[in-house]
Subunit: 217 residues, 4 copies
DNA sequence: GATGAATGAGATTTCATTCAT
DNA sequence: TATGAATGAAATCTCATTCAT
């Protein structure tokens, strides 16, 4: 369709740097990578990394924020629907697991070098990371108000446990401690929702769902 | 009992260095700390750190291994008892939460700079860290064999979810995202056990236990 | 007179770059300014700076040489007149002070980044800068030959002292160490001429001149 | 006297670095020198420069301040004596010229890279530099109060002219524009004092001094 | 045991300049 | 003319580790 170009469009190079950064960060970790590793992987001079991004940090910031914001938006959208809390939490677990399935390198970088790097980037993006926990907690609170979840459980703790369980399973995949295939991805989603919701739901309160689930046991 | 000493015994200095390392690592993170920061905090010359420990890494290794091995032993002991899986998992959750309550700085260092530092110390100690997951998974498998837990759930995934949920709550305390007091520590233990076991147990199979747990609160 | 132009003439751009350079160099110094700072100030792309000038250095060279040559010409012209040495030196002091009054930014750049930057541009333009001292020295020598100035004083030293005194006062204005207003500009001219000539003149030899100067003030 | 040592005392190294810095800064200027140039010249690893001085800047700061403070003290001492203003100014000119005679490299560095580097170190040490001008101005003011110097001349301008004249002559020696030998050093001192004071003194007021000075020629 | 001066590999970042469009 | 993406040499500074005393 479009004419053959002997030279890439400017934005291609920027994106190429981001893509290369994901690969090298995933391979050896953000701190072990030099800017020249990114540039070499992208096939550009390293000065260009500084042309598009102000610093090495800024490259990781960009990778993280672009993806994290998508997740925050997704949670907000899900929460705005009429679905049950269990369905909402399943959607979130699904999104995260599918994100990993779709781009495991990017998710590895985000988890290992940002959300779990509490003394460096985790600190920098703390507010943004907390926002995710808060939105998950909001879903739990909603379910508590509607009588679906037990009121005596701290929504924030439940949200942390839920998110922590998912992230740890991703960590298991990342470091090849857990089997990673389509079947296990799906089972992981169900596991985390069932276990967490199983303990949160009031017996009988969510009959349709719970019974359906139990029937499947 | 002990003779009055005008000069600290050699081992006191070694321990003073370890204690100082916990404080400075907790404060700013392992990577941001220089060897001289440890030495300054301990009130010794930094050459002495190299006398007792071969390297900066070795200091963290020591801190991690000493504590982690205690946990591994504890899990093994717990698993050797006749208690129910739920009780065993509760004991583990208790141990971890109490470890944090007793020495939050040390636990912060272990979690932030080792178990979650997947590209540096997490890598080094991967085998030892996995051993903990494996032992937890063994408890789940035992319960599955005894018919208390659903057989179709992957024990390793369940173990990861369980451990991940606990670690994330500790992270919440560490970074002051969750309220940290005696009451919440206890509720956190119950939350993680109830939610995880709630989804793992076969309906009715553990009722007695669950009630027993509640009575004990 | 001139035709209406919807687009600046080429030379306007070149001049705009020079004018912008004076402003940014005066603000932060030549070395602290990037080529892009000049271009931004001029409202052009920085590639254009390289179109009109071969390098960043060349911009400063141009600024310096254009002005310095005017001064050299002025000294030569003054020396060619029949005026007394005192009058000639007064004319030079006047020219320099008035240059500062007229365009303080340009003079700041010339003094700070060229004549006093002995290890960079001062080195490059040393010959041209010395030429000014030499021409001033020539005036002193002329006065010595005519018996107006003491013969035993080194003309070159006197020229340096004279020029140094003026430049230092300009420096005082540039860095707001001295009051800068019309009255002080005029007093500075007289001060430097009177003090320097006061020590150079043979007692009684220049009385008439001195009185003449005073009458003219 | 002292035993032969195969290893220099710690402070020797620090001083060796300072001495080396003077040599390389004088040779090529502060900005053109890398830290490794200093270290190479001193025969030490460049990490040692950072051991003793926090930064490259700090090396120059140290060189400047140590010498400049000596001069400030000298001016204060001189001003505290009962000497005439002319004698005081002569003492200052003498000190500066002798400083150059004694250690031309150090004076070159101080003048070229600090007092005349208005956009870098001159800025940093502006207050300290001004203090020298102020103290010289104080001498002029004292002479004005005593009726030795004309009251209508701005003392601060006179101080600037005086200092500027000396510094410019040093610059002349530094860049080999003026003959530098014992005879010329002495003549330069007299020239600057005679010319400046010649214009400042009230006719007849200082005849005794002037004659005395002249007798000494 | 204890000290801290000395070492130097290695990382980030800046920015003048080139050149395809 | 005019643009600004692309290049890469070069410089500062950090800090774990060694080792003579």
């Amino acid at each position: 369709m479009s004419a053959v170009r002997t030279r890439s469009a400017p934005q291609d190079r920027r994106q190429a740097i981001l893509d290369a950064a994901v690969r090298v960060f995933a391979r050896r970790g953000f701190h072990a990578c030099r800017v020249s590793d990114i540039a070499d992987e992208a096939g550009v001079a390293y000065g260009l990394v500084y042309h598009y991004f102000g610093s090495k940090d800024s490259v990781l910031d960009t990778l993280f924020l672009e993806r994290w914001n998508v997740m925050l938006d997704m949670i907000a959208e899900v929460d705005a629907t009429e679905a049950s809390a269990r369905e909402k939490l399943y959607a979130i677990a699904s999104f995260i697991v599918d994100s990993y399935r779709h781009d495991p390198d990017l998710m590895k970088v985000i988890i290992v070098d940002v959300t779990r790097a509490a003394n460096s980037f985790g600190q920098t993006h703390l507010a943004r990371i907390r926002e995710a926990y808060r939105r998950i907690a909001a879903i739990v609170e909603g379910a508590q108000r509607q009588g679906a979840f037990k009121a005596e459980i701290d929504a924030e703790f439940a949200a942390m446990a839920f998110y922590g369980a998912i992230e740890q399973m991703l960590t298991g995949w990342i470091f090849e401690m857990l089997p990673a295939d389509e079947e296990h991805y799906e089972r992981a989603k169900r596991l985390v929702v069932e276990t967490i919701c199983g303990g949160l739901e009031i017996s009988g309160a969510s009959h349709g769902r719970r019974d359906a689930d139990r029937d499947g046991d």
